[in-house]
């Protein structure tokens, strides 16, 4: 990679590794987060997302590898870098005996670059932005899960930031809150802030992000723009029809392996994976179905969703690895 391309990365890690006593939680990952992107960091529970984020922020020392955040080496240049980074790491944390507003004041004093003069305004603006103005004088210990989450996001917004690192920001939020976070992320992106957001909610990443990386068992198994990630997956043909069995036999004639994907009596749906290198012209399928007398109520050729890609890459298993 050339020097100018490297400078265009908000986060750039090479061979980043973290070993705990018995296991390698993060195994030689090369993250490349372009400046100005909204970057989704996906992975099942225990895949190493939070551990990576802790290394990016200088909370833990990598066992191996290098990190550049906003073009500067971490953790050596931590004092220059972190004032420009807002972060939510592994959920919010507060002093339960202080009010929401007092908590933000407290964290803001820790930043040596944050001006005391503008502090009240900045705190109020951050509270306003996450919709907590009315609860600002309540003790943080009395906050609900979603209110704490909002306060945690407000904490990341106390100063103008070049990079936001948000570890599962919508955890515990109600639908309005979730949508609000999505809108917030879009507005940061519009202001030119790079947003690095970890999640295991794929639909959310699909709606919010321009780029993504998928972690599995400590390694990155796929990384790139959302289109690149989806494009690498296969596409499906889906047929909604009451004549499911006829449709299946028609599709089977084309060498496909159809399956009943919606065994709902009222809305049966048959779908089949299309082979990646297309010797088969998908446009021939619909005429053939109609010709066979299949009553087609819905039909579509769909690219694999990120979810299918995710499951394909990280495995079906539900159990977390130890």
């Amino acid at each position: 990679m050339t020097a100018s391309a490297a400078a265009d990365l908000a986060i750039d890690s090479r061979g980043l590794t973290k070993r705990f006593r018995t296991q390698t939680a993060v195994d030689s990952i090369d993250l490349a987060v372009p400046r100005g992107s909204v970057f989704g960091f996906l992975g099942p529970n225990g895949s190493g997302k939070t551990t990576t984020i802790r290394m990016l922020l200088g909370l833990i020392t990598p066992s191996d590898g290098e990190i550049r955040v906003l073009g500067e080496r971490m953790p050596d240049k931590l004092r220059n870098v972190l004032p420009r980074v807002g972060a939510l790491v592994e959920g919010p944390a507060f002093y339960p005996f202080l009010t929401g507003r007092a908590n933000l004041h407290r964290f803001d004093t820790a930043d040596r670059h944050a001006s005391r003069r503008t502090r009240p305004e900045r705190v109020n603006a951050a509270l306003e932005r996450v919709g907590l103005t009315n609860a600002a004088s309540k003790k943080a210990g009395a906050y609900s899960l979603g209110m704490k989450q909002r306060l945690g996001i407000a904490n990341a917004l106390l100063s103008p930031r070049d990079l936001l690192v948000l570890d599962e920001p919508t955890n515990g939020l109600d639908p309005q809150g979730t949508r609000e976070v999505r809108n917030l992320v879009h507005s940061f992106a519009a202001e030119g802030t790079t947003v690095f957001v970890s999640s295991h909610l794929l639909a959310e990443v699909e709606q919010m992000c321009t780029h993504a990386a998928i972690m599995s068992a400590g390694s990155i198994v796929a990384q790139g723009s959302l289109d690149e990630l989806r494009g690498a997956g296969e596409s499906h043909v889906r047929v909604q029809t009451p004549d499911a069995s006829t449709a299946e036999s028609v599709l089977a004639r084309f060498g496909l392996l159809p399956a009943l994907t919606s065994p709902n009596e009222a809305h049966p749906e048959v779908s089949a994976l299309l082979p990646p290198s297309t010797e088969l012209d998908p446009d021939r399928l619909l005429p053939a179905l109609l010709e066979a007398g299949v009553r087609v109520r819905g039909y579509g050729i769909e690219e694999a969703s990120l979810e299918e890609r995710f499951v394909a890459l990280t495995g079906e298993g539900f159990d977390v690895r130890s």
């Binding site: 922020l57 004092r79 790491v89 592994e90 803001d108």
Partner: protein, 284 residues
Amino acid sequence: MSVPDTTVARRSSPGLDLLGSELSVLFSRRRTWAMLAAVALIPILLAVAVRLTASELDPGEGPPFLDRVTQNGLFVSFTATVVAIPLFLPLTIGVVAGDTIAGEAGLGTLRYLLVSPAGRLRLLLVKFAGAAAFCLAATLTLLVVGSLIGALLFPVGPVTLLSGETIGVAESVWRSLLVAAYVTVSLLGLCAIGLFISTLTSVPVGAMAATVLLSVVSQILGALPQLEWLHPWLFTQHWLGFAGLLSQPADLSEFGTNALMQLGYIAVFFALAYGRFATKDVLS
């Protein structure tokens, strides 16, 4: 694309805001006030008990100075200080100093302070300063409450010192402040020990208990004549040694020895705390 360095434009303050914030958080906690209130109870209980018992104590009976309380209310705070030093003050200091880093780690706020970024050395310094401020608050509580309740229940006038001379009330206020300073300085070594222990764990109660335990162990060792060679090195050795401040003229030599010893403990344990904390993985 060049990387804009926004930090050049921002002015860096010396970072005293964090100290202010630490003090205001410490002294806005109900726990802090509960401990100070408990400290204040010592001179109050002591004065009331002495007042209610009609019988005169023989000189030297009970804790030091207790026999003088009835003659002069100003001795209430000295007596209370002597009573509080072995266990009660170390208990409250242990709670505050043990909580410094471990408490933040336990709440999870440590990661947000560090990401702000507070700076690890700066955070340790601020935390130590906070604990030291609590020591001062505790000893001043003993002094102020002791003097007030003493003045309320007993006659106040010129004070007869241990050496027999008499000093005026103004001079005695000065001596009282000197004693408070001595006790505060005495406790700083324990603060540094607590700070170090606090960097070892994210369970604040454990750090508090260990700190208090160490102060008790040190006092027990200090009481064993067989370990006399060890005594000059114990941070508790001079804890009760402020009698010299109450003689005429005031004898400051033990104050000096004590201060030097506490400084040594601060240097060693602060260095240990920094060595531990500077590279520590913050996983809480």
